[in-house]
Symmetry: C2
Subunit: 346 residues, 2 copies
DNA sequence: ATGAAAGCGCTAACAT
DNA sequence: ATGTTAGCGCTTTCAT
């Protein structure tokens, strides 16, 4: 099964796909168990038999049956990635990073979309848990105790969700938000609003707290509007609410929302950044070419995906608790583009 | 395992996760096979026993072991989706559509990224084939004979790749390209270039042919530049090559490339659309808010994903050959935004 | 170092 | 309608 039809040296595809270790055993005159060993723990078998077996496997175009392997060994070589909305560009990067790292380790990716519902998330998690070696929960909406319980029974890594006892990768947007506030304050803004995302989002609260405290440091008070859905569509309502606060600048829960806001502001004839500055979060695909290009907190999204997988694999191998750090904080930085500028003179 | 910790009415989570049909059988006093039946084909079992069994299953928090089920039944309830680049926004829609439809049918999605390599695609396909009930190949780079061979042994649906004997969903961009050419010609353009995508892409050739023939219909000759990678990065080289042809308008292989071109043109101080018009393909996320917003061929991407799954499921159920249409053509339409305008006077 | 045998959890004939 | 009996393909003791 190579592209040009040269499956094994000198042999045409033979009984392709239904070859079992028994066939190999028969062909090589050894027991099936020996074949199994030769294939999964080559060091536990005599060199010459091992090579005979491996050659036969190649000849017969043997592909191990993962279900059977899983059934007896308990390992599925598959990892589930749960995202709350497969449509959100933020997750694309995550998916990609995870996929990369998994492939490198020879594992498969089961993608699950929880549609932003804690109930569905929990349901689906229950369904897949037995089919995977571990789970990566991106921006989980699950209550803390559920999360802890799940993590006790199954290797789990969360992304952007920090719960005691659960290893996690968190993108340090709060730190970035400090930078964003400094940036805006230095541009003369005094009325800065946080445009909040979905209610169950842990990251959302973390970001709001960061904004508030950064503001407080300057003796200012953060304004909060929302909650809004983490989508472009929600941007219209958000923009209107935002204008109503009298803020001269805002930091939004994520870029999707920011892009939606930009759109609505243009629609209402309000210029960005001369009349109002907008700062997003994440730096997703599109943030650099929307109009005006968005000032945002650049998050190492793919890296987060890769990191989550690495941590999970580490946990799978180590078995014990001697695993490294419980939570990995990934730094963000402010990327200034054209949606932020000096505060308007009043 | 419900979000708030109320797993079964009145019962705390019990032996969670390792409950088998035997436990249920023991509890209800029936044979394991009866439990199996009650759970998978409820109509084949007496109503009262069935209900007892179902209640017990719920009480014990039973979750079927998919590997075991797969091993004995041959069905994995999983479908693989192979994409050539999980990073390409075009696939996001596909993934999403597929995921939706699969969930509705209770199947899981195994996502595979082939990194644009035919060899890797073939390899990975070999690995997953036994773990899934069927496969959806998005923009496959596999040679025709390989594809035919694979499809003979496993339910396969291709997307944007038409090969005899393989059922497929194809987005009718060629038809859209006709519309695009009409649009451009009516704006006075006479020199229109096609900015070609990756060499192994079937869709790429189809689009080029469509452009050439649409041009011919007006007694004009299509210009071709490329090939280029289907990415924004490739847009720079593409823009430069494009300008060199003297064309006043272009249609690009996809939006990613078009957005890259737009960027490069701006960089070189060339105004779109007064100096040159750009038309993309697909209408991906971002096409409507880049600058200027992109005139493009709107493709029903999510629908394509859903359709592919439907066709696959149909094939899985019907088993026989009485399945419907071999290839589903999905219409596209031209969405005119601001990147196309009247040809410049010479 | 290798073989024999048991079994992972489930489904699917075949009986009853 | 339900129970009995074999496996599915593999890994894993336990012998040898």
């Amino acid at each position: 099964m190579t592209p040009e039809g040269a499956p094994a040296p000198g042999t045409a595809t033979r009984r392709d796909g239904r070859v079992t270790i028994n066939d190999i055993a028969a062909l090589t005159g050894v027991a099936a168990s020996t074949v199994s060993r030769a294939l999964s723990r080559p060091d536990r078998v005599n060199r010459v038999t091992r090579e005979r077996i491996q050659a036969a496997a190649r000849d017969l175009n043997y592909v191990p049956n993962t279900q059977a392997r899983a059934l007896s060994s308990g390992r599925t070589d598959t990892v589930a990635l749960l995202v709350s909305d497969a449509t959100n560009p933020f997750y694309f990067g995550l998916i990609r990073g995870a996929q990369q790292q998994l492939r490198a380790a020879g594992l498969a990716l089961l993608l699950v979309d929880t549609e932003d519902s804690p109930e569905l998330e929990n349901d689906l998690l229950g369904k897949v848990r037995r089919s995977v070696d571990g789970v990566i929960l991106a921006a989980s909406r699950l209550p803390e105790k559920t999360l802890t319980a799940v993590a006790a029974e199954l290797p789990v890594i969360t992304i952007n969700r920090n719960v005691p006892g659960v290893r996690s990768v968190v993108i340090d947007s709060p730190d970035g938000i400090m930078q964003a506030v400094e940036h805006l304050v230095s541009l003369g803004h005094r009325q800065i609003a946080y445009v909040a995302g979905p209610p169950f989002s842990w990251a959302n609260e973390a970001r709001w707290r960061a904004l508030r405290s950064a503001m407080a440091r300057h003796g200012l008070t953060g304004i909060r509007v929302g909650p809004f859905g983490a989508s472009r569509r929600s941007g219209s309502a958000a923009a209107d609410a935002l204008l109503n606060t009298g803020a001269t600048a805002c930091v939004t829960f994520n870029d999707l929302l920011a892009i939606g806001i930009l759109h609505r502001l243009a629609e209402r004839g309000i210029d960005v950044p001369t009349e109002i500055s907008v700062v997003g979060c994440d730096d997703i695909f599109g943030a650099d070419f929307c109009s005006p290009p968005l000032t945002t907190l650049t998050a190492p999204i793919e890296q987060a995906g890769r990191m989550a997988v690495s941590m999970l694999l580490e946990q799978l191998d180590d078995l014990g608790e001697k695993t490294s750090r419980r939570t990995q904080l990934l730094p963000t930085h402010l990327t200034v583009r054209r949606s932020s500028g000096p505060a308007p003179r009043r």
